[in-house]
Amino acid sequence: MITFNLNGREVETEAPPTMRLIDLLRDEFQLIGSKEGCGDGECGTCSVLVNSLLHNSCLVPIGAIEGAEVITIDGYCKTEQFQLLSECYSEAGAVQCGFCIPGMVMASAAILSQNPHPTEEEIREGISGNLCRCTGYNMIVDAIDLAAKKGEGLW
C-alpha cells in the first residue's frame, strides 16, 4: 500500500511500486491531463510537481512517492495561478495542437514559483525539457514572461 497526497487529497493505492506515476495517474485516478509523449523523460509532456519540484511522471516509480505531495495539471487548473497562466497563454497565442501544454503549464508553474521574475534565458532553461512541435516556443516564452509581469505578488 502506497499513500501520498494527490492534488491536495490523501490517497492510497495497491498498485505495484514499480508502476510508473503517469500510468497510476491516468489509469487508476483517471487524471488524464498529464499526457504520455516519449515515455523516456525526453519530452516533458507528462510533467507533474512532486514536492513542488518538476518531475517527469513517466520516470517515477510510485514506490518512490510514498508520503509525497503530487500536483498534476488536473489539480493545478483549480488555482489562481493557473487562471493567470491560462489567460497569458491565450493572450500570447501560445497554444496550437495543445498536446504539450499540460506539461508546459506545469513547467511554467515550477519556473514562476521558484523565481517570480525570471529572465528570458531562465524561462527557456525552465522549459528546456518540454518539447513542442507547433509553437516554436517563442509564444510560450512570451506567455510565461507575461504571467510573471501580470502576476506581481501571486508567485
Partner: protein
C-alpha cells in the same frame, strides 16, 4: 521462476537498507531516471525487475555534502538540482550539471546513479575522472574506498558487490587558483540529449610551466578514456605549448580513442570532434 515485481523496500535508515541487502540480492533504485527507461514495459504495466526493489532516494545519510580535510564529500543520492544549489560543489561541476538533461531530470537523477549506471556517455563522469574522485562504498560488514576508474569497469558494469551501496563520492582537493578546467558536451539538443562526445580538461601552471594536466573523454570507448602516461608528458612543459608539442599529444590520444558508430553519432565524427576539443583546450589555456 516467479518474478516478484511487487516486493519492494523503502527504509528510513541506511542501516536497515544495508541489513536488507545483506540478506538478499536486490535492485537498487535511486532517482530511477535511467533504470526506469532500461526496464520500460508496455504502457499501464509496472516496470519489470527480476529482483526485489530497494528504494534509496529517501535516505538522508546519502544526501549530505560536506568538506573534510579539504576534500569534498558528496552524498550519492544528492540530486543534480541539490548539487547545483550547494555552495561546496565546485563551479565546473555545476557547469557540467547544467548540461545534464533538463530541470525535471535534474530534480530526480542522482550523482550516485549516474556513476552506477556507468554509461560511457555519463555526463558527470569525465569531470569526476579528472578530479581523481573516489567512491565510498558501504555494506553491513563495513566500508571500502575505490578510485572511480577502478569502480567503473564497462557499460553498466561496476565494481559493486550485491550487499554494497555507494555512499559518497569524494573529490580530493584541487587547488583551483591557477587551475583551468573545461567541460564540453556535444549533443543534438541542449536539453535532455545524451552526449555524442564529452571532454573534461584540467591544466595548472606554476611560473610558466605546466604542473598538472588531466584529460578525460566520454563516449569514445566502453569507459571514460584517460591516460596518465600522456598526462605525464605535459609536466614541466613551457607554457604556452608550441604547436609541434600539441600535435604530439593529439596524436597520442588519436591512438587511444576508440569510439563506435551508433544511433547518436559516427565513430569518425566522435574522434574528430574529441581531438578538436583537446587541441582547442591545449591552444587556448
Amino acid at each position: 521462476m516467479v518474478i516478484k515485481t511487487n516486493t519492494s523496500y523503502r527504509y528510513k535508515r541506511l542501516e536497515e537498507t544495508l541489513s536488507r541487502l545483506s540478506k538478499e540480492e536486490c535492485q537498487i533504485i535511486a532517482g530511477g531516471t535511467d533504470v526506469m527507461v532500461q526496464h520500460k514495459s508496455p504502457r499501464g504495466t509496472p516496470a519489470k525487475f527480476d529482483k526485489p526493489i530497494v528504494f534509496i532516494d529517501q535516505l538522508k545519510e546519502l544526501k549530505q555534502v560536506y568538506k573534510m580535510n579539504h576534500d569534498i564529500h558528496i552524498g550519492a543520492c544528492c540530486t543534480y538540482s541539490e548539487m547545483m544549489k550547494h555552495p561546496l560543489i565546485p563551479g565546473i561541476l555545476k557547469k557540467a550539471i547544467k548540461e545534464i538533461a533538463a530541470p525535471a531530470i535534474r530534480n530526480r537523477g542522482t550523482i550516485g546513479g549516474n556513476i552506477c549506471n556507468a554509461s560511457p556517455a555519463g555526463d558527470t563522469l569525465p569531470l569526476l575522472y579528472i578530479y581523481n574522485a573516489k567512491v565510498r562504498l558501504v555494506s553491513a560488514k563495513g566500508e571500502r574506498m575505490i578510485e572511480i576508474q577502478d569502480f567503473i569497469q564497462g557499460p553498466r558494469k561496476v565494481n559493486r558487490l550485491n550487499d554494497e551501496i555507494v555512499r559518497e563520492i569524494i573529490l580530493p582537493e584541487v587547488h583551483e587558483d591557477l587551475t583551468h578546467f573545461v567541460f564540453e558536451k556535444v549533443a543534438n539538443r541542449r536539453a535532455d540529449a545524451i552526449a555524442k562526445i564529452s571532454f573534461a580538461g584540467l591544466l595548472r601552471r606554476d611560473e610558466g610551466r605546466i604542473s598538472d594536466a588531466r584529460f578525460a573523454f566520454g563516449a569514445v570507448g566502453p569507459t571514460i578514456v584517460r591516460s596518465m602516461d600522456i598526462e605525464k608528458k605535459l609536466l614541466s612543459a613551457a607554457f604556452p605549448l608550441d604547436n609541434k608539442f600539441i600535435d604530439g599529444i593529439v596524436a597520442d590520444f588519436e591512438c587511444l580513442l576508440k569510439p563506435i558508430d551508433d544511433g547518436r553519432s559516427t565513430a569518425v565524427y566522435r574522434k574528430t570532434v574529441a581531438l578538436h576539443l583537446l587541441r582547442h583546450f591545449l591552444e587556448m589555456y
